[in-house]
Symmetry: C2
Amino acid sequence: MINTLFLPELREMLEFQQAGELKEFCEALNPGRTAEYMAGLTPAEAWQVLQHTTPVLRAEIFEFFDLDHKLAILNDQDPQEVAELLGGLPADDRVDLVQELSEQRVARLLALLPAEDRRDIRRLQSFAEGTAGALMTTEVAKLDERLTVREAFDELSRQAEQLETIYYLYVVDESERLRGVVSGRQLVSSLARPNTRLQDLMETDVIVVETSDDQEKVAELVERYNMLAIPVVDKGRRLVGIITHDDVIDVVREELTEDAHRIAAVAPLEDGYLRINLLQLGWKRGIWLTILFFAALLTAIALRQFDEELEKYTWLVLFIPLIISSGGNSGTQSATLVITAMTSGEVRIRDWRTILLREIVVGLMLGGFLGLLGWLVSLAVAPDSTSALVIPITVLAVVMSGCLCGATLPLIFKRLGLDPALMSNPFVAGIVDILGIVIYFNVARGVMG
Amino acid sequence: MINTLFLPELREMLEFQQAGELKEFCEALNPGRTAEYMAGLTPAEAWQVLQHTTPVLRAEIFEFFDLDHKLAILNDQDPQEVAELLGGLPADDRVDLVQELSEQRVARLLALLPAEDRRDIRRLQSFAEGTAGALMTTEVAKLDERLTVREAFDELSRQAEQLETIYYLYVVDESERLRGVVSGRQLVSSLARPNTRLQDLMETDVIVVETSDDQEKVAELVERYNMLAIPVVDKGRRLVGIITHDDVIDVVREELTEDAHRIAAVAPLEDGYLRINLLQLGWKRGIWLTILFFAALLTAIALRQFDEELEKYTWLVLFIPLIISSGGNSGTQSATLVITAMTSGEVRIRDWRTILLREIVVGLMLGGFLGLLGWLVSLAVAPDSTSALVIPITVLAVVMSGCLCGATLPLIFKRLGLDPALMSNPFVAGIVDILGIVIYFNVARGVMG
């Protein structure tokens, strides 16, 4: 998001070193909006502007810069200033940025950070991509179970400065093991009884993830239980961090986009479409295209079995693409519907009977209607009205098999423990293509002898 | 999610009316988890169990039941008890449920609700599906701008009982117009200065949506600014509700699933795959299949132009499906990549030059490789080595045009102000099919004379 409205003014303020105005610009708006107004500046200019506000707000605005601007600033600006900025960023975002910098630069910056931050970065870096550990932030409000409500408030106002937002208050024992959770609402509404101990207030059935859990599990739990944040514990159930709702939205988006790619026979990209290296993109698409190419070769082999019919009834050739695409398209629809319904949790394997029944009904409707259209067309092309029947019969059968293959193949993949989205549309279409050819010429043989 | 572990015990407790045990069961666990253990009960049994806890917890557990169970309870159980339950549900969820009940039942239940709740339901019902108004809940922490921090805490502990969670504290003037926002963190860390007025503490640049704004705009803003909740105002900027992060996750999921469906040429479903009426499903698929059918007819017409070649070189027919599917598959990949990148905001129309350039490079790589494979196969089938060149040249050209069509058609649709996902994969494939046939036979003419 770039907003160029204030660009000339900003540049003028920078040129004439108008510190007061620059400070006001930084502080007047929501940090996200301030960042948008600065998106047209060069990274160096933006960094200069940010020097006019407090370190806290500087970090908040910086968070909304786009990745390229962030990296340019981290790479090129004064190490001392950059290290101070890093110290103020949320722990999870900080690690993601550090991972994009050169070894050399990281070493230089880490040396300038307090030992605690350095350890924190190293530790978060050690978790594998796609796990809860890599997703979490270590800034979490921890309260001792023996505190009273009044003491908890005092403790919180001490911690609040370092915390991004208070989602839930986690209650731990003396060895940092997670014992329970208190919501901000509960604490506020207990202010009337300030001497209640947290251990008597807290909910003890806490839903947690472990650092090594997969990010899809994280998203599933947060969505299922409508949580603002989910606590992350280590093997000893010690509270080590939380994952917040905004990171969960990112996971959901990532997961569904990956599904969409798999459905279209593209292996999931690790990077954005415009950022990924072209050789990698070629590989992620090429591997599937090659597999599909060999599947398509089978259609050629199938066609070869019908040499005689092809010679005798050349008009049949005209309808090959139409037959094939009718099957492929209905298969694509069914497969996508079943895969997305499975991803959202609406459909499970045990629903297979319902699914098949519904696909048979829909397949009959769709195949019947398209068959009718096909019959009208073939009456004009086929040599006689009997031969013209080949087209409608084939279309009906092919659409039916498209619906059934499209719906069942993802279910079978799921049953085998594979990702149902692997049963991509082109793959379904490839299988239906071969079936389509076989059905077509067998119907032709049957009808015309 | 069904957990049958406690089912026998629960049924026993119900049979022997063990009130104490049932109360403990309701209160021991996280409400979401309690609901899972009850999912195996009949709606009537579940409702009986819930009678053993407080109205607040009853509503919380009920929230996690699946839709069918919820509706069965609302429809069949004692109206007085059900009305009490409705009164305790979050305002947004309550309306969604009421909309599924019969007119008669709704009239009966509404009559039993306090006037305020009744008005609230009527008002929320009046917002169109897919707007911010329909998504919001009316339970929001509102504080007068003239309050001090200490007074704000007192006011909050009064309001807290009715509020689901406190996300942000919205500051309003005497006519309920939104003036600013204070985070829970800010308020807690200002406890040291209890006489500060909220108007001196609040952030005044608040990001809001209006009731009539589209839900996609809501999701976009919440994601862009990493908000926990976004305030909803009416035309006079009066604060009327908030939309919380969990509803935003649902919107993102809905939106991406709709995209996946459009990409596969299924008009978006208003209901789940298993819930939607079959005639409707048939229509939503049939409309696109019919359009695609007519597109495929054009391939038949294209083929007809090459009657002579078809008669002369029958071996060319064998490769028709392979040529067509190579183009279709590479087009499908490109279209999906561009559409998903546009949805996530990574790619914009102004990036078209970069996109085309990248697709040309990838198209050359993929087409070159598949062409090579095709050449090896055609050497075995074609009558001579010159004719065998038809296949690799065609495959290269067809894959290239697949990549280019797939990438540009969604961009053009976007440029025209249409949903790029409408340029579905089958549609791209249909266009590439026709191109493929024309390229194939023109190459054949060129090579073999």
